[in-house]
Symmetry: C2
Subunit: 284 residues, 2 copies
């Protein structure tokens, strides 16, 4: 008898495990972790870059690096003043003229001389910068692949990172796909929304969607309208991604383009209209 | 003639370069960069750790790692479920029993199965975590060495990181060494100080010095007094570090210990005294 109970217990445990496993089986959870990791790490990476260029500036104040990756590589190549070689600089820049000019500046630099132990610390710091850069690239590649698979329609009309961030704000594909367009429009603007509700400040017009170039580069007066247009189409795209699994994004994208052209072609009457609305309201 | 002017110009350029070089010749500038790098990077490292344990929790929710380093190593060792080996786990924990228990949990985990591309992203993320850890160790080693050389007295009575942070807040050894004790006491509490001056909130009692265990673990009512005591001795130590270059820290440390014993031995009369002061003030 006890053996039978034992075997039932085993079976039930197994089935519960499988149920939990099934709930978390979707890749969307990994995608959410990846986009959050990406955003946090890229903020840290920018801090590290600023610190690295300030620190390195003590030794070679005359030499500016154009990019984060180049700066870290320069730190590793320049090293102490007596070990600088023209060859390694040429290999780094693959441009003999630039290498010669940097060599000239570096060997006659008026920055302080670097001691051995300073070099060790600075090199390690440059290593961390490069490792963060590589990790960001790997995360980005994963986000691209996963977003295009999980939410192809939403990704097509926005981009991988925006789509993944919307997902992460919503918490699951199911919740995101069943949200009305107005909620999608304000995902990521929760703080401003509650400030509006509690203290009566201006209501927000967009959250995560502000990262779309059409909105951030758009005319101020048209941004809210364009965000509304995008949110409507993104909400439709998400329903297709989650329920019907059909690819309808090309049609949605051309709708958006037409809509933006229409919004931009209208003269700026928005302000006057709102004024007259308010006047009417006062008269009542 | 022009050749003579040219040679004068060369000489003057060289002398100016040397002057600038001399101004920045002190290692204190590198130390300030290092402590700031350390503080920023350790904040980022904590974020990465939280994210890594959340992400990894999708696959092995049952297994907890005790430390940041161990978590990253476990992520790299556990990998996907079919590649887990008892040997690699034993090598990681150097404790056969623990390895066996983790193996048991990992192979029967109810977390989601990891796809190849998820693994790649997660591994890279664990790499970044490990690289940040190594860099923090290198920075710490450098900060220890440099702080003990540049400010041996101040380092002896506080610790390397607190001494370096005081230096970084002040901007140079010269400025730090000429500060009165009251300013040293509030370095790092600038925000609270200006809030006090502008809005009349409570004045701060300590800034960077709060990191001293004697203050952060001390009785609430004694903290301000202990901070004042430390600040006085640190100010003296800094003058010795910068001007006389003598090592007087042992005497200062024993003074501090005696002072703390005296402060702690007194009963909590501070509050009552303040009350009676206020009463007297009211009567006037």
């Amino acid at each position: 008898m006890p053996r039978k109970i034992e075997s039932i217990r085993e079976k039930m445990l197994k089935s519960t495990r499988e149920q939990i496993s099934r709930t978390y089986a979707n890749e969307e959870y990994a995608l959410m972790q990846a986009i959050n990791a990406y955003n946090e790490l890229s903020r840290s990476y920018n801090l590290v870059y600023e610190r690295l260029s300030e620190w390195y500036g003590l030794y070679y104040p005359e030499i500016k690096a154009g990019s984060q990756k180049l700066l870290a590589d320069m730190v590793k190549t320049l090293n102490t003043r007596d070990t600088i070689s023209k060859e390694s600089l040429t290999a780094l820049f693959s441009d003999e003229q630039r290498a010669a000019s940097v060599y000239e500046k570096a060997t006659s630099s008026m920055g302080r001389a670097m001691s051995g132990r300073e070099r060790d610390a600075l090199m390690k710091f440059a290593d961390a910068s490069n490792s963060m850069n590589e990790t960001l690239e790997a995360l980005e590649a994963y986000i691209k692949a996963a977003a295009n698979e999980i939410m192809p329609n939403a990704t097509y009309i926005t981009d991988e990172k925006i789509a993944a961030e919307l997902l992460s704000r919503a918490g699951s594909m199911e919740r995101l796909a069943t949200m009305p367009a107005s909620t999608v429009q304000l995902l990521g603007a929760e703080k401003a929304l509650f400030k509006h509700i509690k203290f009566g400040s201006k209501p927000p017009k967009y959250g995560v969607l502000f990262k779309l170039p059409a909105i951030s580069n758009g005319k101020r007066s048209a941004r809210g309208k364009i965000a509304r247009l995008y949110a409507t189409k993104v909400a439709i795209a998400l329903k297709a991604d989650y329920f019907s699994k059909r690819f309808i994004a090309e049609k949605l994208k051309s709708d958006i383009e037409k809509g933006i052209a229409r919004i931009n072609s209208k003269p700026d009457v928005a302000k006057n209209k709102r004024h007259s609305d308010r006047d009417r309201h006062h008269k009542q």
